[in-house]
């Protein structure tokens, strides 16, 4: 398929889009911000006969609070997330993660739905969505289902999303008053980089450094994002003093199974899982004490 011969369809409503997706005669792919799709096309990996351009679908670009949950439309860009006062107040870990995505231009164009759909093990917003207990709504022409984020991905670049489905909503649990979160990323440089390792940490705090429980999600250290359940189990056992933090962080390398690639070796990634957890917990405690 030559790029000059490709078609591009721009549906006006979600229903139109689902109708197009339900037809099987053409080979199609959805494009929103294009920050991944265009690159894949350039590399010759994604060459559909028809692009379905959903970037203009206003009905999928929203952030709202409904019955104690927050609903985020898949066409919300990273920049939208960064500027949302609701998310800043009640899901600031997602705001932090969105800030770390690529360059400003990519934050402007790239969407959260796209970040989920691309299913990169190094995706920056996904660990944050894990610790916010996100569920992803998938719609087809005649069906709608809600998939918990930890069951959405089947492997690197692979999800349970069917060809006739699209993401129509992302539902997260807002952070409560005593919940604090942090996103930590290690890349080959500070700006515009792909994660070597990243981690999202969310803690539920009592007084001082007593922790009631927490969630820890690592990126780039396994085929998909993973939760560090052993570390999580240790969080409420003792007040999170600097010594305890170091001890918990040391466990992290046992929970990850990274690979060596151009960015880093597996050994380094393992060590960095511990390092980022230690650094994140330490910084979180500083923040908590200043709160």
């Amino acid at each position: 398929m030559l790029i000059s011969e490709m078609d591009i369809i721009t549906p006006q409503t979600v229903n139109d889009c689902l109708l197009i997706l339900s037809k099987k005669e053409t080979e199609h792919r959805i494009i929103a911000g294009g920050t991944d799709a265009v690159v894949r096309m350039k590399e010759g990996k994604w060459l559909p006969s028809t692009w379905i351009n959903i970037k203009g679908l206003k009905e999928l670009r929203y952030i709202k609070e409904i019955n104690g949950t927050i609903h985020i439309g898949p066409l919300i860009t990273h920049t939208d997330i960064i500027h949302s006062s609701l998310l800043q107040k009640k899901a600031n870990i997602l705001v932090e993660a969105a800030r770390e995505v690529g360059a400003i231009q990519m934050q402007n164009m790239g969407t959260i739905g796209g970040n989920i759909g691309t299913a990169s093990p190094a995706g920056d917003t996904i660990p944050a969505l894990y610790v916010l207990n996100a569920a992803v709504e998938l719609q087809s022409l005649h069906n709608k289902r809600l998939i918990p984020i930890n069951l959405l991905f089947t492997g690197p670049g692979r999800t349970v999303i069917k060809p006739n489905e699209m993401i129509t909503n992302i539902i997260i649990q807002p952070q409560t008053e005593n919940e604090i979160g942090i996103f930590q990323k290690l890349g080959p440089r500070k700006a515009q980089s792909i994660s070597i390792v990243n981690v999202a940490i969310m803690l539920s705090m009592a007084k001082d450094r007593e922790c009631l429980g927490g969630k820890i999600a690592f990126g780039s250290v396994a085929p998909t994002i993973i939760r560090a359940k052993k570390c999580e189990a240790l969080l409420p056992l003792n007040p999170l003093t600097d010594d305890i933090i170091e001890n918990i962080a040391k466990i992290a390398w046992k929970e990850v199974m990274p690979i060596t690639d151009g960015r880093a070796t597996a050994e380094y990634r393992r060590d960095m899982a511990s390092a980022l957890l230690e650094r994140g917990l330490y910084r979180l405690m500083r923040r908590w004490e200043r709160k």
Partner: protein, 769 residues
């Protein structure tokens, strides 16, 4: 020089600033023409293979394809290369790297051209790629070129190193590895070619020496160079990467087959990564001896440079590296040896610093190690060993020109960062972070060494509108040399700078004035302008005397006009007089660079007559949990001779510092088994503004008598000493030494682990290999 200067030494704004800042300026690869066609290059599929046949029939038959060219279509000599033309324009029987060009296509669209490339069938027989320079040097390795794999070998021996090592109190020995840095210019290689009805070929392609590009094109085309016009300026960045031929010959070849339609080639970043020239990766083994008081006694160096498949300027790079391998110090006994070696790893060539970067890390690290063991101050040990003007260098020659090293060291030790370093080091933001401060000094030859003719030329023409057109061959590479030329011209002509127009890099408009390389364009081009300007004054005053009918001695050159008694003449009035009387309105200035008379035996061109010097002080902060390193502050202390434009100097100093940070901490083009693992800027990491520290520039103006207004050159040394300075600062912060660049977080983290494991015996001279 006169104390009061109007333009020289002033913060004159870039004459090309507004159009660059607003984006109004079009670089040559920005242009599109209505009837244009696209050219594409078929690159080799394998790093080392024999070609049995090339079938182009299917490609030719594709609708929209205008021509498909192979080595059989080259009218002249199938080769190019600045020093020796060992690189085929289009491969015929063998490919030696994946950057090798095998065929060219011109087509109506880029897409059709790409399709056509896929339809060209090349029958390859795979050969085992040689990807390690040391292995390539062994006698058992297959020969990549008829004369073997050692392209060049330089050896300098001075004094008696054996005896010196015996009497030494301290000996330090290490091996250093440096990366394959990419120029990463924003404008990838590309340009335009067109041939008109009269057979005149015009090539618009950013390059660093239009006249030499023209000769290389003419040789491949077997075509009269007078019928080839090369426009090579402005350049969207080059840093040495456009010194060699990039796509000029492809453009000219295709232009011969496109029926007068302009043909454009513009490499994608991915193709630029594979085919473009890179900095030579080096392995440098160094052994240095000193006395108890810190006096350097001897230095032994063995450097091996991987030049990849073709020489380009590799021979000159290794020669310059060896010439600079002992730093700006007087070491009485040296034994220095360098090899430039062919492999199947892409192609290496010219890059800002030109081999000095790779060796500077050795000598500067050794000075710090010696100082530490002898409990000497890093500034003191350097001050003790630097040569001064008139001293004998480590190469054994008397340095006759200006030497500012000592002064740069004095400024370094008195700058805020160095003086208050113990305070700054305490101000870490988080408990696991550690700060270090270090300094290093280096130097860099200006102009070509012995054996290469080096000259400058410029012309100045009075234009009908009363302005002056200053024409210099040296291209606008991004550094602002055009503004420098305008300042020098305005200064001597005594006019406002707005009266000066500058044209650069166009064989139809500028004289051959040599390359824009070797930190030479301010010095050489400036001197040529300074040679032409008095002739223009003479032309103006003679004309004025004739117009006013007064003796020549009555004419006074005033600001923006010429006067005699009460009468005043504008430049425009003078032009009109010259025009009516059919008198020339253009003058030329020529300048031959001073050279050393005696070449150091075996050195391949050393010594240089002139050197620029620089000291860097840096502060880093290392995150010991992850190995991430931030350069927080940089002080750059260049000895550039007289500074023509402080703003321009700061631009060079800041850009150079950031490029040095990139080299030290982030950048490397990874090639495995001859194939590039690094594809584009996704995995080639260059510093962004978030990695850019506070950079202060404090120039030492040690005037060079032969330079224009006392100027020297600074374009390269600005990125050099910062490299070992960062390495030493990391050590100062953490106790971990890095011998293998780039010092990525992972390498630093592993070095930190080693330090922890080796405790308490930190003092090892062993390498991390």
């Amino acid at each position: 020089m006169k104390p009061s200067l109007n333009w020289v030494g002033k913060r004159v704004k870039r004459i090309d600033g507004p159009e660059k800042v607003t984006g109004e300026l079009k670089y040559m690869t920005d242009y599109h023409f209505e009837n244009m066609v696209w050219g594409k290059v078929l690159r080799a599929k394998y790093p080392y293979a024999r070609i049995h046949s090339i079938q182009t029939e299917k490609a030719r038959q594709l609708p929209g394809v205008i021509c498909v060219l192979t080595h059989e279509d080259i009218p002249g000599f199938n080769g190019f290369g600045i020093v020796i033309p060992d690189q085929p324009v289009l491969a015929s029987d063998i490919v030696r790297c994946t950057g090798d060009a095998v065929a060219l296509v011109a087509a109506e669209t880029q897409e059709i051209a790409e399709q056509a490339l896929r339809l060209i069938e090349v029958d390859y027989e795979l050969l085992e790629a040689i990807t390690d320079a040391e292995l390539a040097m062994s006698s058992s390795a297959p020969k990549l070129h008829p004369d073997g794999n050692i392209h060049s070998h330089v050896k300098i021996i001075n004094g008696d190193t054996d005896a010196a090592f015996k009497e030494a109190d301290i000996i330090i020995e290490n091996t250093f590895y440096s990366p394959r840095q990419m120029h990463a210019f924003i404008e990838t290689e590309g340009g335009w070619g067109v041939m008109d009805d009269e057979g005149l070929i015009t090539i618009r392609c950013p390059g660093q020496y239009a006249y030499r590009d023209r000769m290389q094109i003419a040789r491949a085309l077997a075509y009269n160079p007078e019928l080839i016009r090369v426009i090579s300026s402005p350049i969207g960045g080059a840093f040495g990467g456009k010194d060699e031929i990039t796509v000029q010959i492809y453009l000219a070849l295709l232009a011969m087959y496109t029926n007068g339609r302009p043909v454009k080639i513009h490499l994608s970043r991915e193709e630029s990564v594979i085919a473009g020239i890179k900095r030579h990766p080096f392995k440098v083994q160094m052994r240095t001896a000193a006395k108890k008081d810190g006096t350097l006694l001897a230095n032994e160096v063995r450097a091996v440079a991987d030049t990849g498949a073709y020489a380009s300027l590799g021979g000159a790079v290794i020669a310059l590296a060896i010439e600079h391998s002992c730093g700006p110090y007087k070491i009485p006994n040296v034994n220095l040896e360098g090899f430039c070696v062919y492999t199947n790893n892409g192609i290496s060539g010219a890059f800002r610093g030109f081999g000095v970067n790779q060796v500077c890390i050795g000598i500067e690290t050794h000075l710090d190690m010696i100082a530490e063991q002898l409990e000497l101050d890093p500034v003191e040990i350097r001050k003790k060993n630097v040569y001064h003007q008139g001293d004998i260098s480590s190469m054994g020659h008397v340095v006759k020109t200006s030497v500012g090293t000592f002064k740069t060291l004095e400024i370094a030790e008195n700058c805020d960062l160095w003086k208050n370093r113990s305070q700054f080091k305490k101000e870490v933001s988080e408990p696991w972070k550690k700060r270090g401060v270090a300094l290093a000094t280096s130097f860099h030859g200006i102009g070509m060494g012995i054996g290469l003719p080096d000259y400058g030329a410029a012309s100045i023409e009075l234009l009908p509108n009363g302005k002056f057109l200053v024409a210099v061959g040296c291209e606008e590479i991004g550094g602002g040399n055009g503004t420098t030329y305008a300042q020098i011209a305005a200064e001597i002509l005594n006019c406002d700078i707005s009266k000066i127009k500058v044209v650069q890099g166009d064989t139809s408009k500028t004289l051959d004035g040599g390359t824009v390389t070797a930190s030479r364009s301010t010095y050489t081009g400036g001197r040529a302008v300074a040679a032409a300007a008095p002739k223009m004054i003479k032309l103006l005053t003679s004309a004025a005397a004739e117009i006013l009918q007064v003796p020549l001695s009555d004419i006074i050159v005033q600001r923006d006009c010429l006067t005699a008694k009460e009468e005043s003449l504008t430049y425009k009035a003078i032009y009109e007089y010259l025009y009516i009387h059919h008198k020339p309105a253009k003058v030329e200035g020529h300048f031959l660079l001073p050279k050393e008379k005696v070449e150091i035996k075996g050195s391949g061109g050393a010594p240089h007559h002139l050197y620029g010097y620089l000291t860097h002080v840096v502060m880093v902060e290392v995150d010991t949990l992850t190995g991430e390193t931030d350069v927080l502050r940089v002080v750059s202390i260049p000895d550039a001779g007289k500074v023509i434009n402080p703003q321009g100097l700061e631009g060079q100093a800041e850009g150079g510092a950031v490029m040095g940070i990139g080299y030290t901490l982030y950048e490397d083009v990874i090639i495995e088994e001859g194939f590039h693992k690094t594809k584009n800027f996704t995995d080639y990491i260059i510093p962004t503004i978030r990695e850019t520290p506070v950079i202060e520039t404090f120039p030492v103006e040690d005037a060079e008598q032969t330079g224009p207004f006392g100027a020297k050159g600074i374009g390269e040394v600005v990125m050099i000493p910062i490299i070992p300075a960062i390495m030493s600062a990391i050590y100062d912060a953490t106790g971990a030494r890095i011998y293998h660049l780039p010092a990525t977080p992972e390498r630093i983290f592993n070095a930190l682990k080693d330090v922890k494991n080796k405790m308490p015996n930190i003092q090892g001279d062993k390498n991390d290999e």
